[in-house]
Subunit: 207 residues, 2 copies
Amino acid sequence: MQCSYSETTPSKFAQAKTSTLAAVDLSKKGSVDQPISNLIELVNNLDDYFTTSSCSGRTIIVANSLAHGSRKKGCKWLYVTHGDSVFTDVIECLREEPLPESATLKFEPFIMHVQCLSLESARQLLQIAVSCGYRNSGISLGKSGKIILAVRSTAGLEVPLVVDSRLLVSEQYIERLVGMANEKMSSNLMQISKFQGKLDEFAKEQR
Amino acid sequence: MQCSYSETTPSKFAQAKTSTLAAVDLSKKGSVDQPISNLIELVNNLDDYFTTSSCSGRTIIVANSLAHGSRKKGCKWLYVTHGDSVFTDVIECLREEPLPESATLKFEPFIMHVQCLSLESARQLLQIAVSCGYRNSGISLGKSGKIILAVRSTAGLEVPLVVDSRLLVSEQYIERLVGMANEKMSSNLMQISKFQGKLDEFAKEQR
């Protein structure tokens, strides 16, 4: 067998898993990302894997403003939801004067980073992810044998709404946009559920 | 050294490299993606790597229509440029009657797939890519030892213009959008040039 990469040892991996999950439990108590809480548990119950970060998917409006008296740009979230966007709430945050320099609506789909014991376990999870349509997934290799799989979707939406402090789109357009973001969120949740189903089968095969 | 993955052999890799590059030379003659032609050459001149596909970045308008007499959806590109978008050309293709069911403007940044001899060579190239801001890069592992690094950017723009066969945004908005796509293209080219510079240094270290 030919291999130029040195994986971490099982005992070091188990140690990292224990300390990471303990830290997450402390910091995130009560703020679990509900649509993927079962998926996260499923991954963490597998010996060869643990999640290091994740987001179930969200629709956000990000504003950029030139900070007062400086040229440094500031970034602020005007709106965020991990569920369905509500048109009236979106409109409301775009009515607050003064308008920011710019504001952009983004739909950001599910993403999950999973630390893997070995290259073989990373390869298997990557294969499952890609078979569920997560075609932008990929593995990162650290110098010290740390193997991270990022499960990434290709879905997206990135729409400038405010440019040069002027709202350049109509309310009717924003209403359609909110509908499209919600459709993408719904497909996103179906894709997560497909991934969870395949991972469940995989977990059963492992036993 | 602990490793669960079996890399391909150097001789099989060299064989795959030769046949892939020969096929590319035949099919793409005269249609090289100019902004990255030097970068592609640089990668392919390194013993441990060869490119399998790439795009320097593009702005496109994609239309979706219900095909006549069927429920099957068809997808058609109304506009594509690998350089600067031209406002009058963009507007023109949105004026052609009948309008499609939907049309979306997308900016898709540079992407490059590189087959790597070994995990160590993939790790090194990934590190260079990430240091240039290509934070969505990642490695895919095939069953037969085939290692592919995808160099992926985080930049994007995805803006619905036509919904239900109606153009829902103003010409003024489209003009700003074209400007923003062109700004993103310009950053994209600067990022490519940074990547090329770092790769050049890397190539010199290898000698």
